[in-house]
Symmetry: C2
Subunit: 217 residues, 2 copies
């Protein structure tokens, strides 16, 4: 269907559009796929020919419906394989990406669906990124405040309610960003503070104010 290289460009464009509504330029793509900008121009022409993207110097590149569908499937496979590598083969989260980059290109009618079923229909990959469903939908992340999460549950940072610099700097200090997993270890009834585990092994205590400023799902 599409070459491995084409798939990598589509995935990169998808990821770039996922991050924010920014204009997707040849240069940004070049950086994402680690290639010279001139090469990107060639590929932009090719993907445009194939009606996988639209490109316009002013608006930048944008996936067409067809391109989006293709990219979503690649991302779905990538994230499912990451779950497989962590849950079934016991790799740690820093080892899985490179392998998933290869596995995501394996083609077969219903491979993603079978894998999805085998893994128990996970909603997020080990990095906290949402896994697109078979129909291309992302899990409809019902956001809650971190303070609403029950003890023992793990959630994932989806957004911040408070966007003050001081709060964001605190998040940065704690290595918390969109997608970070947080497990609620304990809640202190006295003042509403929480014992949480951030990511894989960092534990800390945060205040009620903090827990009411972070949106998770």
């Amino acid at each position: 269907m599409h070459s491995l290289t084409e798939e990598n460009y589509l995935k990169a464009i998808y990821r770039l559009s996922e991050i924010d509504g920014n204009k997707i330029t040849p240069t940004s793509i070049a950086e994402a796929v680690n290639v010279n900008a001139a090469s990107v121009i060639d590929m932009i022409k090719k993907l445009t020919e194939k009606k996988l993207i639209n490109y316009d110097k002013v608006k930048g590149a944008k996936l067409t419906d067809k391109g989006n569908k293709t990219a979503l499937l690649i991302v779905r496979k990538h994230r499912l394989w990451e779950v497989f590598l962590q849950d079934k083969l016991g790799y740690s989260w820093d080892e899985i990406h490179e392998m998933a980059e290869q596995l995501e290109h394996v083609q077969h009618e219903d491979l993603a669906d079978r894998l999805d079923k085998f893994l128990g229909y996970p909603e997020y990959d080990p990095h906290g990124d949402p896994i697109p469903k078979s129909n291309g939908q992302l899990p409809d992340t019902v956001k809650k405040l971190l303070s609403e999460i029950k003890v023992g549950k793990t959630c994932r940072v989806a957004a911040v309610k408070d966007t003050s610099t001081i709060f964001l700097q605190y998040l940065l200090q704690l290595s918390v960003s969109i997608g970070t997993k947080i497990k609620v270890i304990d809640k202190i009834a006295f003042d509403g503070s929480m014992n949480i585990q951030i990511g894989k092994d960092f534990k800390t205590t945060v205040s009620q104010k903090f827990a009411e400023s972070l949106l998770v799902d």
Copy 2:
């Protein structure tokens, strides 16, 4: 390390040498990798340069130790992935080959070993082909007569004791060849005949004479 294409050539050469002690010619390789003979000549040069094979117009191509080691790892991965696809994802034996062709090229330090462990160290793939061990050894197939296999067990045709044309023709008729899986469904005490399942779904009854002429493991 080696390109996907190189890996495919090495695997093909390995498979050709596995079948019998025949001379491996450019033409036979061309047929195996589905490519023009002229292309094979180029690749022979490349693989020779890389000391993965030795080539001589008279003796044909032969894997070096290095080439053999590489090929064995690819075959190991291929066969392990086939087990995964059948046992874990529920694909049938005719669907798995094409996917395993892609999966076998996924590179990572200890991926094969982890997969092997996860699958419970299988010795044969769903087609009955032996899975090379981590050290490159093939399972040392202790051969028995089919007649010695217990009811309910599945075994795999390893060799024939009787090489008469008439017996081989009978085997052909039953679609039994080296590697074919046979499950012993029942043994008739009266005359030593056996109810067996050949391959995936063909059931038949064979005589004691038959069961004592087939070596399995």
